[in-house]
């Protein structure tokens, strides 16, 4: 059990009023999380006491900055079940996924130009090779693979989605001999469905394909152990898990990071540089060109400490209760359809829905007028919307500070949406 009132007291923004004095009900954690004061304070403390260039200076403050930065790496890596040198900082999950895709592209181009480094060949793509994604993906885990395929001549294939909004197991057979990369989400930011990772990893391994996991939603809401999941790469964003904006991470199995060619190049990722050529550092530094988001790493450290103290199991259990209440509540509102599984099993508290006859923008507007913040649009996942027969949806998503009373307020808001637009139509 988590002490929700104590937790809420840690989140300054929840005290806000919106729209002429209405108390904010923040149900948009799926887009970005609010920050506890411990995280805000960690960043402030860094700037006021520890700010200096990392891995570059020998003076006292630079030493402390470097220690704070690397301690953060260790803490975040541990939080997701990885070793510290398997974790590369990125500005967000999107960059992490692009890093992997560009790693394959660069390996392919290096091979063509006869300049491959040891171990790079495993990432070279050729025509006939296949990259498999899913129809459930966020654009961040789809478009980079489309681009990679188009630039290398590889073929993009995908696993479809059931009417319930889950990956369709019948389609797992697209994973086959030709599959070189399998990129898939751990949990959908639209349907909330949690993916059976083990099954997919097993198939990918049998096919000899690399696995790339989008852990954006999962790392923020579930206990995640990447070593246990056995994926090759995984990406997630700090801002979705109580950490500052501007930081995310890419996990890669050590042997793979060691062989993957660099992506961004510049300072702090090189060994010897002449005008003619350059040698690169080992990972994780090889993938961290230029001055990094150091204060944000300190904030990310505070965020995973906070989550660990709450306890990810307890947090997930709390959210599951909220999911159930959300689904039950919505079921009582006529004319509202949930896009995604109808029960809380293997599902996050991320609930997208459509209100019959009312466009999601208008749904969101009337909720907002009551202080209830939900997201409207396609949530950066157009294909799954299209698959489920809509172009956009409204989405309520809960966080560690969400109460049952807030869910009830949201449901009440849904009734109001219906009556507002219904009444105007002369329907009620």
């Amino acid at each position: 059990m988590i002490d929700i009132e104590r937790i809420r007291a840690d989140f300054p923004l929840l005290d806000r009023e919106v729209r002429d004095g209405k108390r904010l009900v923040y149900l948009d954690t799926g887009a970005t999380s609010q920050k506890p004061r411990q995280v805000i304070e960690a960043e402030r403390h860094f700037y006021e006491h520890t700010n200096a260039a990392v891995h570059r200076g020998a003076h006292a403050v630079a030493e402390e900055a470097t220690e704070a930065y690397e301690a953060a790496r260790t803490a975040v890596a541990e939080f997701v079940g990885a070793e510290f040198d398997e974790l590369v900082w990125a500005k967000n999950a999107t960059e992490g996924l692009n890093l992997v895709a560009y790693g394959f592209l660069n390996a392919t181009l290096n091979a063509r130009m006869g300049r491959s480094s040891a171990g790079e060949e495993q990432f070279v793509l050729a025509e006939g090779d296949e990259i498999v994604v899913t129809e459930l993906e966020h654009h961040a885990n789809l478009v980079p693979w489309q681009e990679l395929a188009a630039k290398t001549g590889a073929q993009l294939r995908w696993i479809g989605v059931t009417d319930e909004g889950r990956l369709n197991p019948d389609d797992f057979d697209v994973i086959g001999e030709k599959t070189r990369i399998l990129a898939f989400t751990h949990a959908s930011n639209v349907t909330g469905a949690i993916t059976p990772v083990e099954e997919i990893v097993r198939r990918a391994q049998a096919a000899g394909a690399f696995t790339v996991l989008d852990a954006c939603q999962s790392a923020a809401h579930l206990p995640v152990d990447l070593h246990q999941l056995g994926v090759d790469f995984a990406a997630f964003s700090g801002h979705k898990m109580l950490a500052p904006t501007g930081i995310g991470a890419l996990y890669g199995r050590r042997e793979l990071l060691e062989a993957l060619p660099p992506f961004l190049t510049g300072g702090s990722m090189v060994e010897l540089v002449t005008m003619e050529s350059t040698s690169f550092m080992p990972p994780p530094q090889r993938f961290e060109a230029g001055t990094q988001m150091v204060a944000q790493a300190a904030g990310f450290h505070a965020a995973v400490d906070y989550l660990s103290e709450v306890g990810m199991e307890a947090f997930a259990a709390h959210e599951q209760k909220l999911t159930q209440r959300l689904l039950d509540g919505i079921a009582e509102v006529p004319g509202v359809r949930v896009l995604g599984p109808q029960d809380a099993h293997d599902r996050l508290a991320v609930v997208a829905f459509e209100v019959e006859g009312v466009h999601p923008h208008d749904v969101g507007q009337v909720l907002d007028d009551a202080g209830i913040a939900v997201r409207v649009g396609h949530h950066c996942a157009q294909p799954v919307h299209r698959r489920l027969g809509v172009h956009a949806s409204a989405r309520a998503s809960a966080g560690v500070h969400t109460t049952e009373a807030e869910i009830d307020a949201f449901i009440e808001g849904l009734h109001r949406v219906r009556s507002f637009f219904g009444a105007a139509e002369g329907r009620s």
């Binding site: 729209r19 002429d20 466009h359 999601p360 923008h361 396609h378 956009a392 507002f420």
Partner: protein, 148 residues
Amino acid sequence: MADAMEQLYQQVILDHSRARSGEGELESAHGSSFQVNPTCGDECTVQVRLEGGKLETVAWAGRGCSISQASLSIMHEMLDGEHLQRADELGDLFRELMHGRGKELAAAKQEDLEDLSAFTGVAKYPARIKCALLGWAALKDALAQARA
């Protein structure tokens, strides 16, 4: 229900969003423009035929929220068959209104907007301005093509 919502969703907007005017496709358009609102994937196509300095026909197709649909529908009612100059002026006026953060324009201008003045409240909601202007961006583009 709060006044704010009634101010935003004026009856004329709700009416036009349901009984839409001017939806359709032209056989042979002089200009045609497709626009997307990337936030929600809402889209519209506006097609125009010109004749002797007039916007002989304007037609549109698309999907979107009440604001965007009403805006397109009113656009059709106000401009179909009108002088091109009126089309240009009205577009500029409407853009001016939408970037005014919810303030009315000068009385004469506000009157000139006719039914479009119902959108005054929309300009208070920055995320919705794009909805109101989507069709007008398409019109501007289609007209530019038709004249080119």
